[in-house]
């Protein structure tokens, strides 16, 4: 008994030691900043001193029409991109599933390539494709007799252009995950459904969808949280314009913190962002997580 206790203590000491490097980094570069964010959000931060001002920063955030605009833009961007990107990934994975291995590998690689290319590179390339005078896209629509469009310079098209880029280039890693989930579906379930005389759409909705639901849930949640943080494409392609039509929440925080050095306000904005992502993820878990039997 005492020997067992000594062995357990020995193991515990090694466990604590092995976890220590990551735990220390985590404490200094994650937990500490989180605490500071909560403190700063209630402060008026000036170069020389900080004063406690209660909820004034939060009131300013909520009253700020530009933050409201950023929230709306981000919500539209996220909703559209997640639906179309995941729809595209599901379509491709489902179409690939009954095809042979070589073909699957070929297309998965093709769709994955844009996913390993950085969002800065993708944004630079698309800024060039969207160029109002010399861009590829205007040349392409010119073939159909359409007039050139200032894709990124126009209030009506700028946000949609950013979304289109995200959807066209996105999906690589989700296709791979969905494809793996589809391949795990037991083959005899299909055979039973076929014997019952089920048609393909019915098999898709009654057999396939329920079985890949955990993967879909994972992708919806991570996809929403990540898309909500959209920043790079805005920074490179539009700087939030024209007329704030592409200003997103993270871009707004970046401006407030690193261009205007308004750290208290930026912290309050960051906490609002954090609460929103948390609520979004929780809601999705609640609704999509029901009846997962796998």
């Amino acid at each position: 008994m005492t020997r067992g206790g000594a062995a357990r203590r020995h193991v515990a000491a090694w466990g604590a030691t092995f976890v220590a490097p990551q735990a220390v980094l985590f404490a200094v570069f994650f937990l500490l900043p989180v605490v500071i964010a909560f403190v700063l959000a209630f402060m008026d931060v000036r170069p020389t001193r900080m004063t406690f001002i209660g909820l004034a920063n939060f009131k300013r955030v909520l009253a700020d029409p530009l933050f409201g605009k950023a929230l709306t833009n981000t919500a539209i961007f996220t909703a559209v991109v997640v639906v179309f990107w995941l729809g595209k990934a599901l379509l491709i994975a489902y179409l690939l599933d009954p095809m042979n291995r070589a073909l699957q590998t070929f297309f998965k690689s093709a769709f994955y390539l844009p996913a390993v290319t950085s969002s800065i590179i993708i944004s630079l390339v698309w800024a060039w494709i969207y160029h109002p005078t010399f861009g590829l896209l205007n040349a392409f629509i010119g073939l159909f007799g359409l007039k050139p469009v200032a894709w990124l310079g126009n209030v009506d098209t700028a946000l949609a252009s950013l979304m289109a880029m995200q959807i066209v280039m996105g999906g690589g890693s989700s296709i791979v995950l969905l494809s793996a989930a589809l391949a795990r579906i037991p083959r005899d379930l299909y055979e039973v459904a076929l014997i019952d005389g089920a048609k393909r759409p019915v098999i898709f909705t009654k057999v396939v969808l329920p079985l890949i639901r955990p993967t879909l849930l994972y992708l919806v949640v991570t996809g929403t949280v990540n898309t909500f943080q959209v920043f790079e494409s805005v920074y490179v392609m539009t700087q939030g314009g024209p007329q704030f039509s592409t200003t997103t929440v993270v871009y707004r925080i970046y401006q407030e913190a690193f261009q205007r050095f308004n750290l208290g306000l930026a912290s309050a904005q960051a906490i609002v962002l954090f609460l929103l992502t948390f609520v979004l993820a929780a809601v999705q878990f609640r609704f999509l997580g029901q009846n997962v039997e796998y």
């Binding site: 092995f18 390539l113 969002s119 590829l136």
Partner: protein
């Protein structure tokens, strides 16, 4: 059991719900169109990078460069700090990758196999932190690094990027599959915990380490927000930040932007093709882009 015959429509002969020949052709057409849409921009980046500046500002654009040249590449490489940015990106990516592999596998081993007081709580704290987007702590993290006097330094660039609850989770999952009896047997043989970790655990999770290393390298090479915020002087910038700087300095030379973009994309594309099977295996990775 018949020998597997070649299917001219490239279907999987064993799949219970195969499409008919017409269906297979439709599938192939849809796949080709969608993949071309995703690959065409990368081709266009490459084509423009070979086009002389005078010919990029021409309408309609040349789909295939009529007078291909390497001038844009020469000019990119001649930019005062370009090689320095490449070096900085390499320093960041390689050091974060190596340290993450080492510390995350240690932490993963501890959380999977070496229970200590509070280890479950710590694990859940790590998991919970994955819910918090990095951008939400950007400002206070910058203040911490400022207070430590590490702004515009390699340590300031690298240290915060080493925090990786996801890597810990991944390694805990890999190591958790190893039988505990195996570790106990080594203990009975008198091996110390450090030796068990080094000689028993690590060799058995080598594919997991490789996978972690590859995705970490790609994510670090592509990272932008933290390097943008924490570096100040031109000599400390990383390649991704440098790409934006090149465009700010030479806004009208699209061939130059695209040549720089090709050079920045090349390392990860090489890594992708070299380790293709790791990327296409479908381990639950979630977002690669940070």
């Amino acid at each position: 059991m018949t020998a597997r015959r070649f299917d001219p429509f490239l279907r999987d002969p064993d799949h219970p719900v195969r499409p008919g020949p017409v269906g297979a052709v439709v599938i192939l057409v849809v796949l080709v169109v969608l993949s071309l849409a995703a690959i065409a921009p990368l081709y266009w980046m490459f084509a423009t990078s070979l086009t002389p500046s005078a010919l990029t500002v021409k309408f309609p654009p040349e789909l295939v460069p009529s007078a291909p040249t390497l001038r844009n590449y020469q000019e990119v490489l001649g930019q005062p700090n370009f090689m320095r940015w490449v070096l900085n990106s390499l320093i960041q990516s390689v050091s974060v990758t190596l340290v993450t592999i080492a510390t995350a596998s240690m932490a993963g081993y501890a959380l999977a196999k070496l229970p200590f007081r509070g280890s479950r709580a710590l694990f859940w704290l790590f998991m919970l932190s994955m819910m918090l987007p990095f951008e939400a702590i950007l400002v206070p993290l910058f203040l911490v690094v400022t207070r430590l006097g590490l702004v515009d330094s390699y340590l300031g660039l690298i240290l915060p990027l080493l925090v990786s609850p996801f890597s810990i989770f991944l390694m805990k999952q890999f190591i958790g599959t190893l039988p505990t009896e195996l570790l106990d047997a080594a203990r009975v043989d008198g091996a110390g915990e450090a030796r068990i970790f080094w000689e028993v655990v690590l060799p058995l999770v080598r594919p997991g380490l490789a996978f972690l290393g590859i995705i970490t390298f790609v994510a670090q090479w592509n990272s932008f927000v933290w390097p943008l915020v924490v570096t100040r002087s031109s000599g400390m910038r990383t390649l991704q930040v440098g790409l934006v700087l090149i465009r700010e300095q030479e806004p009208l030379f699209y061939g130059l932007h695209m040549a720089a973009a090709v050079l920045a994309a090349l390392p990860v594309i090489v890594v992708f093709f070299a380790f293709q099977r790791y990327f296409l295996r479908g381990v639950t990775v979630g977002a690669l882009k940070g």
